[in-house]
């Protein structure tokens, strides 16, 4: 009996070590990649120039850098690199939470219509607010409002049938098609140029990041992540089925609603700035689950790290592969994530779904 206990305890500890190792390795990779992608760029700055510029920004009293290098590093590169990390993290935890709450491996901000709603919002702004100066604000606000509306609508629709996983997925799919159709319809009202802008928005891009946008997104992610992790046990319980969760004292409907709304808020606040960056919310949790298992206490944060790594890697490639040309990052995320995912998918036999 004691043997058995020790064996299980040993297994648990090994699992624990593996999780920590996974997160640790990811953190190191993210830092290395972030440093690397701050150094590399079309301006061809040297490593020394970049480091001096970074230090000059952090400690303006003790270091001084070439003003041009300073501008390139601080006004063009750093916020973009950090935005990739934060946005990748946010999109991935939103995906992990949605998959957990809905017990559905296909759930993601995309399959649930949040992203299509944001696209619709953006299309409205692109086509009907053709002003040069206030255009971007209108676009961000409109995209955010639409995705927030979609999140509330999913909740509202599913309430009619009790807030079950199935009803939420169905409501999400209905919304996805509805917003998709409305966007297509809107495109008939636009000019060729406006259509191009809408299509471009659908690919997603980190071209327009700024320190202000980074601050907003970071705030949202920093506030909501602890909330989601704190209630991670409830997600584990939900994974056993609604009735089991209920009998364990989990307020099923409340948990599901709160988690869905928080995840949608994170997604909306990111994609309203970047356009729809697909794939990260869907695949990061799967990669993580295959590597460290399905315990949401770890899964959520670890997925976030995977997402950050994928998005940062994708954006670094998007900036450099055809430099000085920039490719929309949404195209690169799939190229980066899929080989990784395939490898784990072919290799692992354990089932977490």
């Amino acid at each position: 009996m004691d043997d058995e206990k020790e064996k299980i305890a040993g297994q648990y500890l090994r699992m624990q070590a593996k999780r920590l190792l996974f997160v640790g390795v990811l953190a190191v990779l993210i830092i290395l990649l972030a440093v690397g992608s701050t150094i590399i760029g079309s301006a061809g700055l040297t490593v020394e120039e970049v480091f001096t510029a970074v230090l000059a920004g952090l400690l303006p009293d003790s270091f001084s850098a070439d003003p041009l290098a300073f501008t390139i590093v601080w006004d063009l590169r750093l916020h973009r690199v950090l935005f990739a990390v934060v946005a990748g993290f946010g999109l991935a935890i939103a995906g992990a939470v949605m998959q957990g709450v809905l017990r559905n491996p296909l759930a993601s901000p995309f399959t649930l219509g949040i992203a299509s709603a944001a696209t619709f919002g953006a299309a409205i702004a692109i086509i009907f607010v053709p002003t040069a100066l206030s255009g971007e604000i209108a676009l961000v606000v409109s995209a955010f409002m639409m995705s927030a509306f979609a999140a509330v609508a999913i909740y509202g629709l599913s309430r009619y049938r009790g807030v079950s996983a199935e009803s939420m997925v169905l409501a999400g799919i209905i919304l996805m098609y509805l917003f998709g159709a409305m966007t297509s319809f809107l495109q008939y009202a636009g000019t060729t140029e406006q259509l191009q802008a809408v299509v471009f928005w659908m690919f997603g891009s980190l071209q327009n990041t700024s320190w202000e946008k980074l601050a907003i997104v970071t705030l949202v992610v920093v506030v909501s992540t602890p909330l989601l992790v704190w209630r991670a046990w409830d997600l584990n319980a939900l994974g056993m089925g609604d009735q089991v969760a209920q009998s364990l004292g989990v307020k099923v409907e409340q948990t599901r609603t709160v988690h869905m709304l928080v995840a949608s808020l994170i997604t909306a606040s990111i994609i309203c700035f970047t356009g729809t960056i697909g794939f990260i919310g869907l695949v990061s949790p799967h990669i993580t689950r295959l590597a460290i298992g399905g315990d949401h206490r770890y899964l959520i944060v670890a997925s976030g790290f995977v997402g950050a790594l994928i998005l940062l890697g994708a954006d670094s490639l998007a900036r450099t592969i055809l430099a000085p040309q920039i490719i929309p990052v949404g195209i690169m995320t799939a190229f980066i994530g899929i080989p990784f995912f395939l490898y784990l998918f072919m290799r692992r036999k354990e089932e977490y779904w």
Partner: protein, 402 residues
């Protein structure tokens, strides 16, 4: 079996009263391919004396044969369009559909008037400032969404489409229209690219018997281009960053804008990019230190100015949003005050000449004495387009004006 194309053809065939234009020369009584003075005379006499023994040609045939006699020396005319297709005309064109605004603009330069045109595309009908005579004119849709029924019901005798621009769409329109109207003459003429513009003009002049007007237009272009060339070769080309109406979307070799920048004597900093319209890393602009920056407006989120003349103060606003871009204070172009905003209306089609002249003046300020783009623009509008030369006011098309 796909019955759709067949159905379409049948529907069209029923809908449109079939006009089988006579392929032979009108009034060529002996069928020798030439309308001789005597043949024309007897046709006219026959008509006037109402003696059907001499000729029973209706007045429309008579009018056509007189026109052919006067303009084409009494013979059919064979012209080659820009796609290399040879077309034989036995009558003047009187019911034309034009789906390409550049060609319509050139026709106007040649003095081809509205009376010969039965319909235009929807974009022409929507430009009342530049095409006032076609405002609210019958429209046959656009090349992306053509209204075939309307086209055929107007019983056109000729259709003008692009030759190499939007080729797939225009090929499809030609294919479908000629399937139900094999006798319809379809001209494929661009009037869009600077390098072929004068050839296209000569073709149109031939089609409409407007050779004199064509020669005058060609001389106008040659004169203006010679001045641009002189300025362009007067000093080393400055490094130019050309940005389209999408932020950080530039142009490279293979695009029309690149060619025009080069023509004006500028060196496009992204000329060697493999994509024609690359989205550029902002850093790359800074590291390539352009001496002149040109921002194109007139579409997308920059709709103002141009012939409509709306909100021309926005030109300055656009320039002011460019200057504070990250790192731009270090650009020679910004330091020297050489950041320009340019409206697309004078960069595309026949009017490229005006945009290029503005650019040449910006690129080579020391030898710009001869270049007066605003007055060139006024001349073009007044003498060739028959429009109010006041429309050419520089502040509607460029910033800064001086």
């Amino acid at each position: 079996m796909n019955r759709f194309p067949l159905t379409v053809i049948v529907v069209f065939a029923v809908l449109c009263p079939i006009v089988l234009a006579d392929a032979a020369l009108p009034g060529d009584l002996d069928d020798n391919g030439v309308i001789a003075r005597e043949e024309l005379a007897s046709s006219i006499l026959g008509y006037l004396s109402q003696d059907t023994n001499i000729s029973d040609a209706p007045i429309s045939d008579l009018r056509d044969s007189a026109w052919v006699f006067v303009h084409w020396g009494g013979t059919a005319r064979t012209v080659t369009d820009s796609s290399g297709k040879s077309l034989t005309l036995t009558r003047p064109l009187r019911r034309i559909i034009v789906m390409n605004s550049e060609t319509l603009e050139t026709m106007r330069s040649l003095g081809v008037t509205k009376e010969r045109i039965v319909a235009v595309d929807k974009y022409i009908a929507q430009k009342p400032e530049f095409f006032p005579e076609y405002a609210g004119y019958p429209s046959v849709g656009s090349i992306w969404a053509p209204d075939y029924e309307k086209m055929l019901s107007l019983r056109p005798d000729a259709l003008f489409l692009y030759a190499s621009v939007s080729k797939a769409e225009c090929d499809e329109i030609e294919r479908r229209v000629t399937a139900s109207r094999p006798d319809l003459t379809v001209f494929r003429i661009d009037c869009y690219r600077p390098e072929t513009y004068l050839e296209d003009t000569a073709r149109l002049a031939e089609i409409f018997g407007k050779e004199e007007e064509g020669a005058r237009l060609a001389a106008f272009y040659a004169g203006a281009l010679a001045k641009v060339d002189a300025a362009a070769s007067s000093s080393a080309p400055p490094e130019v960053y050309f940005e389209t109406w999408n932020d950080f979307k530039s142009v490279a070799r293979g695009s029309g804008y690149h060619d025009k920048v080069t023509m004006a004597g500028g060196a496009n900093i992204f000329r060697d990019n493999p994509a024609e319209y690359p989205e550029i890393d902002p850093e790359a602009v800074i590291s390539r230190k352009p001496e002149v920056v040109i921002k194109l407006v007139g579409s997308s989120k920059y709709i103002f100015g141009g012939y409509s003349g709306e909100n021309t103060t926005r030109f300055e606003d656009v320039r002011d949003t460019l200057l504070p871009r990250a790192g731009w204070s270090s650009l020679p172009a910004v330091r020297d005050g050489r950041v320009y905003v340019l409206h697309n209306a004078i960069m595309g089609g026949p009017q490229y000449l005006i945009g290029v002249t503005y650019m040449a003046r910006w690129f080579h300020p020391d030898s710009a004495g001869d270049l007066d783009p605003e007055s060139l623009h006024r001349t073009y509008l007044q003498e060739f387009q028959g429009l109010d030369p006041g429309l050419a006011r520089a502040d509607r098309f460029v910033f800064p004006v001086k």
